[in-house]
Amino acid sequence: MNPKSRIKIKESNSRKIFRLFNALFLAVVCIIVVIPIWNVVVTSFAQDQDVMGGVYLLLPKSFTLKNYARVMNSGYMRGFWNSMFVAVSGTALAMAVTVPMGFALAQKKLIGRKIIMRIISITLVFDAGIMPFYILIKTLGLIDTRLSLILPFAVSTFNLIIVKNYMSSIPESLIESAKLDGCNDFMILIKIVLPLAVPILSAVMLFYFVSFWNRYTEAVMFINNSSRYTLQVMLRALVFQSDGSLGEGNAVYDNTKMAVMVLGMLPVLIIYPFVQKHFVSGLMLGGVKE
């Protein structure tokens, strides 16, 4: 055996060991991510007596739907529907504003494109903070309305740039030839660009939905009327302030709390697997400037 090939064998052995440890390490990372989520789900299906002693359930001891029945008959459902209203109408509005704007900005010939991109990208690095924002919402008379959780978040600069970048990568010849066929810009967007951009648009839609569904701070700042509370606000009150509005009047057990938690994660968990496969294709960063 010549020395060269021996070295090669040795190297591949160390590579094998590295690969093994690498896979093990990533498995541990995944476990650390998944275990706490699993615990929430298991606990939400557990009987009262299984959570009373204060245990961290990893294996289901019992299975009951009673906790969900309790939650369904409580005020938390109103929070759920409030959140759903905000998230669905917010996402619809956000897409209706972001997509055409992204398309327009992707057209190199657009008048004033450079200036508009400047105006937009400044908002990525300079934020006026919560006080001017609060004053604005107050001045617009949006305090205590659901609109205050929808309108101010209709555009995310980040999502806009993702859409714009993706749409700039669509070959110009496609658009030019449609133009020669007599399509105007609206028809081009709807007939040619939208079908090509489905992957990125579904990812952006998920981002918008999640951002509306999860919003907490602004809901605390702007909504005082408890009948308009979103689920996240109610969930925070339940877990961190031991709010006792879940029926019985005495202590709310962890299993019921976790059932509310599952309610708070549910829409996202349902949509995520369908959209996830599009992420890698579309989420390339960069190209903020131009």
């Binding site: 590295f18 690969r19 690498n22 896979a23 990533l26 995944c30 991510v33 275990i35 706490p36 989520i37 615990n39 204060g54 961290y56 209706a96 504003v97 327009a104 010939k109 657009l110 008048i111 508009i116 105006i119 990208s121 908002t123 690095v125 300079f126 934020d127 006026a128 903070g129 919560i130 006080m131 001017p132 924002f133 604005l136 209709a154 806009l160 105007n184 810009d185 609206f186 998920l206 999860n214 919003r215 907490y216 701070t217 605390v220 700042m221 996240q232 969930l235 925070r236 877990v239 961190f240 962890d254 938690m261 708070g264 994660m265 890698v280 989420l283 390339m284 960069g286 903020v288 400037k289």
Partner: protein, 309 residues
């Protein structure tokens, strides 16, 4: 007649008008979004001017110059909030920022495409949970009686720690939960960038006798440099604005280590109604953030020859 037409050509330049007419649909598509930016971004910038007034309690609004800022810089609570914000931000950058890069490099070393996908799928999940959900998960995880972490500590013969109410440990919980939630998001973006690196570069390098470590430093990291810098700048732009996570997770026993600029603003400006004073804190925070980003951009431009903004 001809003369006047000629002069009007000069002033209104019909070329542009014609262009506007040709692009009327594009401009129409742009309009709602642009209007949104003007109202919800640029009006808030204008609102920062209130920092120099006494807006809040009285009906009349008067210009008071730097009075709010003088009060701000003399306030002990402000400096505590500033210190806490800086400590948490610096810890976030040091401990969180390299994490997604390392994870992405490791994911990139996996051979099976299915394993790559599965790992990314799982670690990305927490990013879609609200801070309320993540906060609750960490309350459960770190609970002194039933939490997994304290049960492990007990097994090791240690006393249990009430992480959520212990000022010494609370910042650790903040950083840990931040990493737990955001790690996958960053990692997925880096993995996507890594997949665009030309494999021929690695082949050429290994023929030249470059080992794996050297390949990471001479090929992989330089090819994702732009993404790293973009992520760093985006991180820096909101690191001082940390708010929701704290609002959800903090409680009276850890105010001393977790009251940050934004929570201080919220308390002073909105809860106490001292709007002008609150605005001056917002302006201060915004300017420091802006300088942080611009400074970093300047540094990366000069030393790494890479400018993102």
């Amino acid at each position: 007649m001809d003369k006047t037409r000629g002069s009007s050509k000069k002033f209104t330049s019909p070329g542009i008008l014609k262009n506007i007419h040709r692009q009327k649909y594009l401009l129409l598509m742009l309009l709602p979004g642009l209007l949104w930016f003007v109202v919800f971004k640029y009006c808030t910038y204008a609102g920062l001017g209130l920092a120099f007034t006494n807006y809040g309690f009285k009906k009349s609004v008067d210009f008071v110059g730097m009075r709010n800022f003088i009060r701000l810089f003399k306030s002990v609570a402000f400096w505590t909030a500033f210190k806490n914000t800086m400590i948490i931000s610096i810890c976030n950058i040091i401990f969180y920022f390299p994490f997604p890069i390392i994870i992405a490099l490791l994911i990139n070393e996996l051979r099976s495409l299915r394993m790559k996908r599965t790992v990314q799928f799982m670690i990305y999940i927490p990013y879609f949970f609200s801070w309320v959900v993540v906060g609750t998960i960490f309350v459960n995880l770190f609970s002194p009686s039933s939490g997994l972490v304290n049960q492990i500590l007990k097994l090791l013969g240690q006393d249990s720690i009430y992480f959520m109410a212990n000022p010494q440990w609370f910042r650790f919980v903040l950083i840990a939960s931040y990493i737990w939630r955001q790690m996958g998001y960053g990692a997925v973006i880096y993995v996507a960038t890594l997949s665009t690196v030309d494999p021929q570069l690695y082949e050429a390098a290994s023929i030249d006798g470059c080992n794996k470590w050297k390949q990471v430093f001479y090929i992989t990291l330089p090819s994702i440099k732009t993404t790293i810098i973009t992520m760093l700048l985006l991180n820096l732009s909101h690191v001082l604005l940390i708010f929701e996570q704290i609002m959800v997770m903090y409680n009276a026993s850890v105010y001393s280590v977790s009251d940050v600029l934004q929570t201080y603003t919220y308390r002073e400006g909105i809860l106490s109604g001292n709007i002008a004073y609150g605005t001056s804190i917002s302006l201060f925070t915004g300017l420091v953030s802006f300088m942080l980003v611009m400074g970093t951009n300047w540094i990366t431009k000069h030393f790494l020859e890479e400018s993102v903004l």
